[in-house]
């Protein structure tokens, strides 16, 4: 039994009872927070896992196209055709609050209005493999941005869940039992004091009566 180092007084007892009430309420709320966070986190992770598999598959395909393109074209020609990009992706970052965790929301906007207009070279001297690679990359971009958003959210949420879990556990297994034990200890101590003063009073009363009426001499 771990009790706190406190004086067994009535004032301390009321204070501890109040703290216990707060701790219990906090524990309940944190537990709810943990459960809800966990639910959302698991949903998000499942979604992220599917998204990542899809993105990785597409990216591998893009890489294949690029390898083919670099096989057909000379390295210099390939580098030159990609040297001056037309497109520029701008990301507007906002944050969304999920159970007190700030998670990012990325909104992408592109410089050119037409999202199909991404080829930064003339078609005359480049291989069609390169076109395939670039257009496949263009297709995967929205998913790629979503993946970044989801993975960052997972990362932030997992850290928060870990923190909340620690708090819940420490309240449940350390703080609350300690409060309860201390409260029990103080109330027992107070009762004990009460009993001892009561017996003392009874004894004193007996002695006083004895002194006045001399009961023991009469019998």
């Amino acid at each position: 039994m771990a009790i706190m180092n406190v004086n067994p007084t009535r004032m301390q007892l009321t204070r501890l009872k109040k703290q216990l009430r707060t701790a219990v309420r906090g524990h309940k709320m944190l537990k709810d927070k943990r459960d809800e966070l966990m639910r959302q986190f698991l949903d998000l992770v499942r979604e992220t896992k599917d998204l990542r598999e899809r993105v990785e598959e597409k990216l591998m395909l893009c890489n294949d196209h690029f390898v083919n393109a670099s096989a057909v074209m000379s390295k210099e020609a390939l580098d030159a055709s990609l040297m001056s990009p037309k497109q520029q992706v701008n990301i507007h970052t906002e944050s969304r609050n999920v159970m007190s965790v700030d998670i990012p929301v990325f909104k992408a906007s592109e410089r050119t209005a037409d999202s199909g207009d991404i080829f930064p070279y003339g078609f005359a001297f480049t291989s069609f493999e390169l076109d395939d690679a670039i257009s496949a990359l263009g297709d995967v971009l929205p998913d790629l941005i979503k993946l970044a958003e989801y993975e960052k959210s997972c990362e932030l949420m997992s850290a928060e869940i870990e923190k909340t879990r620690r708090r819940v556990n420490s309240l449940e297994h350390v703080m609350i039992p300690r409060y309860q034990d201390t409260i029990k200890y103080i109330s027992m101590k107070l009762e004990e004091n009460d009993r001892s003063s009561r017996t003392r009073l009874m004894k004193v009363k007996d002695m006083l009566l004895e002194k006045t009426y001399h009961y023991s001499e009469r019998t």
Binding site: M38, F41, L42, V45, R46, T48, K49, R52, V55, E56, L59, M60, C62, N63, F66, V67, S70, L78, D79, L82, P85, K86, Q87, Q88, V89, N90, I91, H92, T93, S95, D102, I103, P104, F106, S109, R111, I118, F119, P120, A133, I134, L137, G138, L141, L144, I145, L147, A148, E149, E151, K152, C154, E155, L156, M157, S158, A159, I161, E162, R165
Partner: protein, 107 residues
Amino acid sequence: MAKHIAVLGDAESIKGFSAIGIDIYPCEGDEPSRILRNLADSEAYAIIYLTEEVYNQTEKERSRYSDRLTPAIVPVPGVKGNSNTGRKRLSSFVEKAVGSDIIFGNN
């Protein structure tokens, strides 16, 4: 404020990204850590993609930004193939949150 996207890795894997509007930073050897630090501290990038090799090289740098909203640092497979780094990363999140991996548990 509008931010951009960057991608770090070996030149072979990342040069295509420049066409779709992502800034590319080819690097090799021990350069990635320094470049990553510069990019992340410059606040100009919301997302930084790393090829898996670079991702595995820069663990110390990445941990500095893990509790920040941006930049989001995400591994992508390079030309050398997919080594499941992204999957492992996700499963590490699950492990951290739940205590044991219950999503990728079967392998």
